[in-house]
Amino acid sequence: MLTSIQVELMKLKRSKIMLVFLAGPALVALLFFSLQASGAELEVWPFYFFAGFTAWATFMLPLSATIIATLMAQLEHGPKTWAHLLALPVPKWRLFAAKAVVALLLIAGMSILTGLLLWFGGWLAGYLNPEHKLIDPAPYAALAESMLNDEDTAFGDLDAALLVRNWKWVVVERLAYIYLSSFLLIAVQLWAAFKFRNFLIPLALGVGGGFFAIFAQASKYGIFFPWLMPFNTLGFMPEKVNMALSLGLVGGVAAMLLMLIDMSRMQIK
């Protein structure tokens, strides 16, 4: 399996996939750096990060997953190398699984890069203009924590939940949640990209999914919509977060397994 993964990584050399890998996080970071540098009122680091994560989870991650899955499949569809690859004495599922693992690794890398570039952008904005410097929420932490411990205060109070002393952990945790809950949408995108030779089909699915996610937010069934799951992990209602996380992660793993079974039966005419 390791060899198959190494081979998939080799194929990324000089491909446009690495451009997407860098561009997705960079665009999010650039947007929030621009906002911060132009005097946005985010003030504290956790608000800044969460604003960036919202853009990442709702827009850039689904779009990046769509493009990465499509490009990875087109590496084989384009030059018609599936026939050669699947005629090798290697289990077919392993070839598709290696691609799925690499796609997951790429999105994981992009998630980390998004976090790091957001931090760098925030720091740079403050470095260039001290008035726009983001601050640690320590002064508000005690108040926030008392609010959270107060039974009369709603747990869903986002501001309070972010202003706690361990805000850095909360930020890292939520970034990981976004990633893990995106497994289902990544699996769906990979499946469509492998299945259809025409790249417009997975692209349309990804863009359409992202578009309908806007409307799905208003629906009580929105929690089941794969493209909305990463965004739903940013909330502070434990039920909603857990639902998005477990559906995205468990559903994603299950969808990947089904995809492997289906693609192993792929017929090359």
């Binding site: 080799m10 030059p79 026939a83 050669h84 699947l86 004495p89 290697v90 289990p91 005419k269």
Partner: protein
Amino acid sequence: MTAIETENLHKKFLGVKAVDGVDLAVPEGAIYGFLGPNGAGKTTTIRMILGLLQPNKGKIRIFGEDLMRRRTKALKNVGVAFETPAHYEHLTGRENLDITRRLLGLDKSEIDRVLETVELTHVPNRLVRKYSLGMRHRLGLARALLGKPKLLVFDEPTNGLDPVGIREMREFITSLPERTGATVFVSSHHLAEMQQMASHVAVIHLGKIVFQGGMNDLRGLHASRLEIACVDEAAARAQLSGMGKRIERRGGKLAIELASNDGAEAEAAAVNRKLVEAGVDVHHLALAPWTLEELFLQVIGAPPRADDQADA
């Protein structure tokens, strides 16, 4: 042992039979030509043999291994080059080979060996998108040769090549059994090439095998013909008809089919004697074996060309 054995192979696409009860037996060490017009079912059969298409019915064994049950084991000794050489265009030739080498778990030295075999040692680090079609074909061959497979499957390997490339490819394929000990299964609709390459041949038409056997068996289906050109063609016709011969026109000459291949020379001499004795001046007399193309058209039941019409 047979290198490839198929048994009652069937494949339908949307209810249309593409392959209809194909039984193949490819002997080890042969250059086995798989002939058929476009759409006859050659590529579908090959793709089933390689496990790329699931047959609706039938069995496939490669060196005795059941392909459906043990695909990876059955394909362990198989190298493939497809009609259109498909490579990762953004990678170099060496990188392309390295991908297959790694998946096959072979030593790095294999890449240099196969590059040398196909004479691509001067461009291994060039991007494939900058390769000519001939170079891409050769890279495809190099990839097929990785790991010294015992069976090489080539699907229309000369498609798109110029005459020089076709000759090089033909010479290369012909040399393979001797150089590598491999069995070669090669599909083509270029009959002249196959005539020069194959030791065995199968002809597929409308999804069915209409002939299978040694190249000599195919030639033996019809006795040679005798081509005759003479000054007084009408007199010659009369004499030949008198001998009970069916006369055809072939390339501007008269042609008759001889009784058998074995006594062809003696029969030709006898015909010549008879014509000369009858006062017919013969200025051309030649034995003309059936070309593979003609035999092929005969086996698939295609009508002869206008020029080849029998007129007596």
